[in-house]
């Protein structure tokens, strides 16, 4: 078993492996043992190949033995959301329509992690095609929140969040379309960063809504999150929406980020719809920031209430087109039914209810005669939301507020009510619509011990600054950020 100081810090673990104090194989064995012991209860992983993981770790140890100690993630295991393509490893998006599919290529972020010496630990659970906020839409069964196994871990990157919180993996990748990294991070008590749109290549990320999807790092603390962000960020010519310009990893680690910082506090984020304990925890962060030299700037973001309807028109429209390729012709399972139309229908019946619902909504929104009223209108509102943020960032450096309206909710509570589930994204959907970076860090717990997250949103390209501020806040909050010894509430 790894000592506590290494099991709660990927940065320390990488240093220990690099210096030869710990073997990559020991690290792999540590996390594999924890998964073997506890993932039956948590169900964070969909695909795990311990033999391959150990072989990959051994290969890193062999490299180190030859004197090659390069790579920021040397020997560190990383859990991967199962909507990122991994060559030779099943990639299913938690959907029956991709059962048995093994991609012929690695996503850009997977290439980067491998090049940095990281070990791909396994593929984590998600809501089918990342459509959901609880992992209950996974066709392989929901994941559980390690802080309370009767509750959801959030979603859609719930498997990755649960894996990190439960100490199954020191680092994980998620993807965030309307909050899918930040919301489960908040509900599981970890750090989750949604980069500026285009900061991380989407090549190999199975598309849900292309204009909003971003791959994001998830970790126990901000330092580790920055470590992974530094590895995956940067231009990729295979993604036409990839931004030029590198991530400022040095800036992200610079001290003194709170001095003179102007923190925007929108009135809309403190409504009655937000749980009282969540509000109190966020207010405490505001007070700590002020004590450390920051200034609060009251803001109005009146378009916040339009973010959810706008978001759901844009994502369903794009999804209806993005998911057309799953037709049983070239890969994945095929269900024959006499003729071509029958085969399409039978095969695509494999989609779960939420996926079908969104495909139908999106098909409708793009239909001739409805396009102007729905899709086009949504694009106009989206534009306005971006402008509203741009104006806000003339007055402040970043915007602070709750990540989610409530802590983790019980399994089954919202699964029959899509609209209630959609409202989980109320604070996380605006940033993606505007292409902005945002992250969530733990900021306390409810009386019943459930984690609460606080969200920072910044102007486009301000990823490094957000991480630097998050690190300073994390220090001021002084919470215990260790992974759980074992899952609770079984």
């Amino acid at each position: 078993m790894l000592p506590p100081e290494l099991s709660r810090s990927a940065t320390a673990l990488a240093a220990a492996i690099r210096s030869g104090h710990v073997r990559a194989r020991d690290a792999a064995d540590h996390f594999l043992a924890r998964i073997a012991r506890h993932d039956g209860a948590v169900h964070a992983f969909l695909h795990l190949d311990p033999v391959q993981v150990r072989a990959d770790a051994d290969a890193i140890d062999a490299r180190i033995a030859r004197g090659d100690r390069t790579g920021a993630l040397l020997g560190v295991p990383v859990a991967i959301k199962d909507n990122l393509c991994t060559r030779g490893l099943p990639t299913t998006c938690a959907s029956q329509i991709l059962v048995g599919y093994t991609p012929p290529y690695d996503a850009h972020v997977i290439e980067r992690i491998k090049a940095a010496g990281g070990v791909i630990l396994g593929k984590t659970n998600l809501d089918e095609f990342a459509m959901g906020a609880s992992t209950e839409n996974s066709s392989f069964g929901a994941s559980r929140n390690p802080h309370d196994l009767k509750r959801v871990p959030g979603g859609s990157s719930g498997g990755s969040a649960a894996a990190v919180a439960a100490g199954f993996a020191p680092l994980a990748l998620g993807s965030d379309t309307g909050g899918s990294v930040r919301q489960p991070a908040a509900l599981c008590g970890i750090v989750g960063h949604r980069p500026t749109y285009g900061a991380v290549s989407r090549y190999g990320l199975i598309a849900f809504a292309s204009s909003l999807d971003q791959v994001g790092p998830m970790a126990l603390n901000v330092e580790d999150c920055t470590l992974l962000m530094d590895v995956i960020a940067g231009h990729d010519e295979r993604d036409s929406t990839s931004r030029a310009g590198a991530f400022d990893g040095v800036g992200a680690r610079r001290d003194g980020a709170l001095t003179g910082l102007r923190i925007g506090v929108p009135a809309e984020y403190h409504s009655d719809g937000v749980d009282a304990e969540v509000r109190a925890a966020v207010q405490r962060v505001e007070q700590l920031a002020v004590a450390a030299g920051a200034r609060l700037v009251p803001l109005a973001l009146p378009l916040t209430e339009y973010a959810i309807p706008t978001y759901y028109l844009v994502v369903t429209s794009e999804a209806s087109s993005n998911l057309a390729r799953f037709d049983g012709v070239r890969y994945g399972p095929r269900d024959e039914a006499g003729d071509l139309a029958g085969m399409y229908g039978a095969t695509r019946r494999r989609f779960g209810d939420e996926v079908k619902r969104r495909i139908m909504l999106g098909t409708y929104a793009l239909s001739s005669g409805y396009y102007d009223a729905y899709y086009k209108k949504a694009l106009q509102v989206r534009q306005r939301i971006g402008e509203e943020f741009a104006k806000a960032f003339e007055q402040c450096d970043l915007v602070l507020g709750p990540t989610t309206p409530t802590p983790a909710f019980p399994l089954g509570e919202k699964s029959d009510d899509p609209v209630q589930m959609y409202l989980c994204d109320v604070f996380t959907a605006p940033a993606p619509l505007a292409g902005l970076p945002a992250l969530s860090i733990p900021c306390g717990r409810s009386k019943s011990g459930l984690p609460i997250g606080v969200q920072l949103q910044g102007p486009s390209g301000a990823d490094a600054r957000l991480l630097a501020v998050a690190r300073a806040l994390e220090r001021a909050l002084a919470l215990d950020l260790s992974p759980l010894e074992s899952p609770r509430g079984a």
Binding site: L98, S320, Y375
Partner: protein, 484 residues
Amino acid sequence: MELEPVIGLEVHCQLATRSKLFCRCVADFGGTPNSRICPVCTAQPGALPVLNEQALALALNAGLALHCTIRDQIKFDRKNYYYPDLPKGYQISQFDEPLCEWGELEFELEKGGTKVAKIRRIHMEEDAGKALHPDGANVSLVDLNRAGVPLVEIVGMPDLCSPAEASAYLQTLRRTLRFAGVSECDMEKGSLRCDANISVRPKGQEKLGTKVEVKNINSFKNVERALMFEIARQSEMVARGEPIVQETRSFRDTEGSTIAMRKKEDAHDYRYFPDPDLPLFDVGRNRIEQARAALPEGFVAKRRRYQASWGLTDYDTRVLTEEPATALFFESVVAAGLSPKSAANWIQGEVLAFLGETKGSTKSDISELKITATELHALVQMEERGELSHQAAKKVLRRMLETGVDAQNSAVALDLLQIRDSGALAATIDEVISTETKVVADYRGGKETALNALLGRAMRATKGKGDPNLIRELLLQKLGKPGS
């Protein structure tokens, strides 16, 4: 009631790029099925498109060659529909903001004179794959080699009034695009495909009749056949008082007829929307102006130049500008030093004839020639220096074209170099004089033409290689003036 047809063509051309529109797979015709594919063009989950800027450059050339207005920022849209040969379930195309708009094409009319037809728009899009339905088998097969190949669709206005005009328009469009380097425009290989929109209306009426779209016209000849069939079909319907239904019909080669494919009500709702994977792309005024400056010279300009600067006949210039490769070869032969007139004669007379015979068709592909412009020039110089007779030079060229061996070596191999050594010729001449006593006597008796007979005998004796001027000179030396 006299009816007139109204015709507009929609032409798809494959851009002559090395690779596909959004990935780096080879874009050539054919290949073992599914050998030219990758994650992007097979629509693997997570794969993303990246624009091939060479395709943009060629589409730009199409727009410039057809005098279009060019957008300096382009947008790609998704056209959504399901078919097994369409890997993503949508085709990346351009919907409401095509790269080029409002151009025109001038073409010659059969009865003389020219006509200008308007081009409505030119947009870029990717091709689909190919679905095959093997006879007797209860399966379909999909070949994705063609999926993602770059195309331009050139939509003409309904400005054409007869099948002959449509044919002339299409031929001229093809030649224009070939000279601009945009496309091979080979209908057999599918790099040029033509759909026709056609309606009929009473002569003099402004309002257009109900249009029918004819697809699957697979050759130039069939453009006219399909249109003639449709005009007859629609005219008969009008005569019978039946309404014409707006529909898409398919041309059937064997019958020369068209059959209904789908009615307007069955038309897809393609749910076009901007492709979020491809942000607006800046073409830039600079790129457009550079392309305009570098646009290859068109065949009309070449014809004008060949006639004005080089004094070639209208007929010559047409032959030489039939194909871009022919014009290019002709111009490089001139650049090598041959006079334009002589170059034109050699290329028309010998080179094109050779290609026509060996390929068994008039469709000569001069780019496959085994000789260079410099080698053709070298041959002509040998004739000019008297080393080859004109007849021998033709034979030598034929061998050069067949083998690729240069002029000097071909001439030696054929033993056709002229004998210009008076010592070697003197013996032959002595022998002719001693054997042809009667002809010699005629000559000496004053019959001047007898000298030509002797010259002919001497040429035959040298198997045609003797330099006729030299032989004549030597005969005169030996025999003196006639009658002397």
